[in-house]
């Protein structure tokens, strides 16, 4: 076990299919045309000295170290900027080159501190390596002259420091910020000797345009940009490749360790989802794993008003099991259930649903995807035949028109957003459908061609109007439809779409989007060579979430934008394993692989494998569980890694349901909001402390590797196993790989998945079976999974949640870059510095008529409840619309949201709530009393003296 060293080829790989053969130092090599001499040499194992070149960036040719001699060519060209040519003969080492390189290094070192022994980059410094490589023994120029050795450090960023005294001005950081991240926050200030890296207008990193993605730190060849954790702890000694536990992009990281301590997380270049890039969360915000708030001992209490009592694992597990059995004995076997976690691994999720179906003997299992992407599952399954996105992330590199609906990737899925922005800078066109002016609508180097700033709740009408324009203007791809869909079904749907109420002019009236904008956007998407749709929770979290997903699928089929690279329908999944948790049978009506529980054959597979008989009746969804709790028929709940009291809508309803239950078992890292209503607390463990797999938004199954022992003693899968055994349902897995083997043998779409296969292939996109032994990057090629694509009529029905004189504004909710979901993790890291509290965005006009000034406390009231927070006045939102995030429990944003939900899946309507905003002088009574209860319920009784 050592450090994983990735080869830096110096320049990017060429995608050319034409091959060129050349000779480097007497060795012959064949590489694709367009490859640099430097890269070709590296592929041969020949290291040409370099400083400004790195294979994440375009070649630049400024450091003058990589000079080579090429027979028949004058001078000494830079190998990073010189492409290979047929028959070329290259010499990378000779006396002349050695002298040139040594001379260049002398100049660099003449303005660089000689403190290698005490430098944080010692042993991981390219400048040091190059001094060695060129045999630098002295610096003739001395240090008497002007230099930069006294330059001051910028320590403003909480995670890394900038020490310009060590900078060699290679511009790798500036280029990484531009090319990889697409933020353009850095520049070189001045020229010549006074050149210096500068964030913004000579600002500090923290207050500049920097988004702290870490690309610059990774690109820096010296200690100029360095993680503070490395400065504090020293260089790591071993590393393991694992998968980020934040959003659904699923970035691959090297966890670089000292013993059992993480030194830093470095994005892994071989990661197929992120290709070596990262965001502020995955790269830096992992400190929560060892935060002092973390609970590591099991606790129980008989009433939620009692303080917690720390007990042994045995006592906690036995107590939970005996309570569940007691409740079932008294109220029947359907009186308990559980919630799986989209933060836990596939194996853990699979085990929880198995415990519920086989151990509890019912199908009362649900997951947080209920409140995010359940309409995606339903809608895409119905139209295409699979409950998942159609593409891999690499697909965006070939998109020509990108339609983003109800998603804010620069904040929610930042690493994918960087990919998308890169494609946009290459000239792809962009349409954004969002009530708010997100960064994709307009931010440096991004300017949407069309922004459909619709009134919240009118998605279906807008998407149908796009189809209306496409059909009525003859832009439909009829060949594709005839070939891959049912023409009669299409004709019926087209009739419906062509009705006047779907025309842009009619839709303008209800959505507020000008008809001409709708027409322009429709033409752009329909006429692009490759049109791709990306959407997020702004589509699903509506009473018509499923209808919009159906309408989107129709739109893609209508234009033939399915089944190849560059196109497709792509839900951007919120959580690290929300795709996986859905795949693993977390829904009350489906076994793993989205197979209905009423299916005889599938039930037999599991009955045989598990040795029990299983219920054919779908179980309760989360909202139904809470309703049943209020009715006194559902009294026990096992919640793994999920915080329904904060994340689910209509908090008061949730709290009422939880309070009515007799045994709530919460398994989590922290005493979360749901734990305030729990009787048993089972401490969970972080992604760093267990083995398993996560599945990202592109259906990519990736390994999570244990790099430290669980602080709580057990992996989450082991805890579920202990609970199952205590309930009398025998489980004897020795390792999560055995759970994956069970998943593979019972689910055809995972048949080819195993830890061995993952080791071999790095990652696998399901379906993976005999038809696709290495997985499936792009789905529905040549034919839909369900056979023929199905056009489903999805008509616009306005939500029941309407504005009126009492609640004249529409509230919609979203996310911010530095925080993640309910903030349980990110609030416990330095990321809190970027976003200390949730703010209410309100348009200047709406603020003015209410007498609200920027930063004022305001009361936000809806028909469901009221809360208070500070106002931020901005024209990012349209008049009549207000916006907030839900990262902080104190805000209680979900006290406001209603219990309206999607007609098909019960996915809550977070994105539309009629509200009123008025000036206020502080938190509401509910917030104060909730926080008081929350503080009280987190008490842990001191252990009595012996």
């Amino acid at each position: 076990m050592g450090l994983i060293h990735e080869i830096d080829y110096g320049t990017k790989a060429s995608t050319s299919t034409k091959l060129v053969t050349l000779k480097i130092d007497g060795n012959s090599i064949t590489v694709p045309e367009g490859t640099s001499v430097m890269r070709a040499a590296t592929e041969l194992g020949t290291q040409i000295p370099k400083l400004c070149a790195t294979d994440m960036l375009d070649s630049y040719g400024s450091c003058r170290l990589c000079l080579v001699e090429i027979e028949g060519r004058a001078g000494t060209p830079a190998s990073c900027t010189t492409p290979v040519a047929e028959g070329m003969v290259v010499h990378t080492q000779n006396a002349k080159l050695a002298k040139l390189r040594k001379g260049v290094m002398e100049l660099y070192i003449s303005d660089h501190p000689l403190d290698c022994l005490t430098c944080s980059a010692n042993s991981d410094c390219e400048l040091q390596d190059m001094a060695g490589a060129v045999g630098l023994r002295e610096v003739r120029y001395g240090y008497e002259g002007e230099n930069h050795l006294g330059a001051t450090k910028d320590i403003s960023n909480p995670y890394f420091q900038f020490d310009p005294s060590k900078c060699i001005v290679c511009s790798r950081c500036v280029r990484a910020c531009e090319e990889v991240q697409g933020t353009f926050a850095l520049t070189i200030e001045g020229s010549g000797f006074s050149s210096k890296v500068s964030p913004g207008i000579s600002e500090e990193f923290f207050s500049s345009e920097c988004v702290s993605c870490g690309a610059c730190v990774q690109a820096c060849p010296t200690a100029t940009l360095m993680e503070k954790s490395v400065i504090e702890m020293g260089q790591p000694e071993h590393s393991a490749v694992t998968t980020c536990a934040y959003c659904g992009v699923g970035c691959s990281f090297k966890a670089e360790m000292r013993g059992e301590e993480v030194v830093r997380m470095v994005p892994y270049k071989d990661g197929k989802a992120n290709h070596g890039h990262s965001c502020v969360k995955g790269r830096f915000a992992w400190g929560y794993a060892t935060h002092r708030d973390r609970i590591t001992k099991p606790m129980i209490r008989s009433k939620i008003t009692d303080p917690w009592r720390e007990v042994s694992w045995e006592e906690a597990i036995n107590y939970a099991a005996s309570e569940f059995k007691r409740i079932q004995a008294k109220h029947g076997k359907d009186s308990i259930g559980g919630i799986t976690s989209s933060r836990c691994t596939n194996e853990e999720t699979y085990l929880v649903q198995k415990l519920i179906r086989a151990g509890f003997g019912n199908n009362n299992v649900d997951t947080c995807a209920r409140v995010c992407h359940s309409p995606t599952g339903y809608g895409l399954s119905k139209t295409f035949g699979t409950s998942a996105g159609t593409q891999d992330f690499d697909s965006v590199d070939e998109s020509d028109a990108i339609l983003v609906i109800g998603a804010n990737p620069t904040d929610g899925h930042p690493v994918f957003a960087s990919r998308m922005k890169k494609r946009l800078r290459e000239g792809a066109k962009l349409i954004v459908v969002d009530p708010r002016r997100t960064d994709l609508v307009r931010s440096p180097h991004v300017n949407a061609d069309y922004h459909l700033a619709l009134k919240p709740g009118t998605n279906v009408a807008i998407v149908n109007a796009l189809s209306h324009v496409i059909i009525s203007e003859g832009l439909a791809d009829e060949d594709f439809i005839r070939d891959q869909c049912d023409w009669n079904e299409y004709a019926e749907w087209a009739d419906f779409i062509l009705r006047p109420h779907n025309s842009p002019e009619a839709v303008e009236k209800l959505s507020g989007v000008p008809a001409e904008t709708i027409r322009g956007a429709a033409r752009l998407y329909a006429t692009a060579r490759n049109g791709a749709i990306y959407y997020g929770l702004g589509v699903t979290e509506h009473s018509q979430g499923t209808s919009t997903v159906l309408a989107i699928a129709n739109l893609a089929m209508l234009t033939g934008n399915i089944g190849r690279k560059g196109v497709g329908v792509n839900p951007l999944r919120g959580q690290n394993n929300v795709q996986g948790s859905c795949d693993m049978g977390s829904f009350p009506h489906e076994f793993p692989g989205y197979r209905h529980v009423s299916g005889e054959t599938v039930r037999q597979i599991y009955e045989q494998d598990w040795g029990v008989s299983l219920s054919a009746e779908p179980g309760l969804r989360i909202p139904n569980m809470l309703d049943a709790a209020m009715d006194g028929t559902f009294l026990g709940l096992y919640v793994q890694g999920e915080d329904i009291a904060q994340s689910d809508p209509d908090t008061k309803h949730i709290v009422g349901g939880l309070t009515a239950m007799e045994c709530v078992v919460v398994q989590d890292l922290f005493l979360n909001e749901t734990a305030n209503y729990a009787h048993v607390f089972l401490p969970g463990c972080s992604f760093l402390e267990k083995d398993g797999t996560f599945t990202n938004a592109e259906r990519r199954i990736q390994r999570v590797r244990k790099v430290m022992s669980p602080k709580n003693g057990y992996g989450d899968w082991e805890i579920t196993q202990m609970l199952a055994n205590a309930m009398g349902m025998e489980m004897h897995y020795n390792h999560p790989s055995e759970i994956m083997d069970e998943i593979a043998r019972t689910t055809n779409s995972f048949a080819g998945v195993s830890y061995d296969a993952l080791e071999r292939l790095g990652s696998i996109q399901w379906p993976c079976n005999e038809l696709a032994p290495e997985g499936t990057p792009i789905m529905h090629i040549g034919a839909f999974v369900r056979g023929q694509g199905q056009f489903v009529i999805a008509d616009y029905v306005p939500t029941d949640e309407k504005t009126g004189p009492l609640f004249p504004l529409l509230l919609t909710t979203g996310r911010i870059l530095s925080q993640y979901n309910v903030g349980a993790q990110t609030r416990r890291t330095e990321n809190a510095k970027w976003h200390e509290e949730d703010l209410l965005e309100i348009h200047p006009h709406d603020a003015e008529v209410r007498g609200v000034k920027d930063g004022d406390w305001v009361k936000l009231a809806s028909r469901a409840g009221e809360t208070a927070l500070r106002a931020k006045i901005t024209d990012r939102v349209a008049p009549g619309v207000v916006y907030t995030t839900f990262h902080h429990p104190f805000t209680q944003a979900n006290v406001i949201t209603t219990d309206y939900s999607d007609w098909a899946t019960n996915c809550p309507e977070y994105k539309v709530t009629a509200v009123q905003v008025s000036p206020s002088n502080g938190p509401t009574e509910w917030q104060t009393s909730y926080m008081a209860h929350s503080d009280a319920s987190r008490r842990i009784a001191p252990i009595a003296a012996e």
Partner: protein, 154 residues
Amino acid sequence: MTRDWNPEAADAIVAAHLQLEGPLLPILHAIQEEFGYISEDAMRLIANRLNITRAEVYGVVSFYHDYRQQPSGRHVLKLCRAEACQSMGGEANAAKLLERLGVDWGGTTADGRLTVEPIYCLGLCACAPSAMLDDEVHGRLDADSLEALAMEAV
């Protein structure tokens, strides 16, 4: 005379150049012409209108010596310090003038009338030492004619 910072006027200047391909340099020239220098406010405004970052604008402004980030004196005298002018005694002339005016390179006289800046080659090597007062070039200067030139401005 240049005028005080005025975002509306700056906006109009930017708007007038937007049809150009690569409008940043001409905009910066025009802004400097109008306001005498390119303030941080101006950089932020230009960045916003061109939809680029303030880092990018600042990188360009700070790269070129001709863009100033502080107001200059009413007149600007640029003295060539490149090789040809040095070899013809330009440095000695310059030292004398700076002493006479009581300013250093880049400095402005106390009355705010004259800023003296170095420049590296005006392309007038054949008539070195040379200088440029505002937009007008002067060659074959000696200490006296240079002082006389400076005194025109002061």
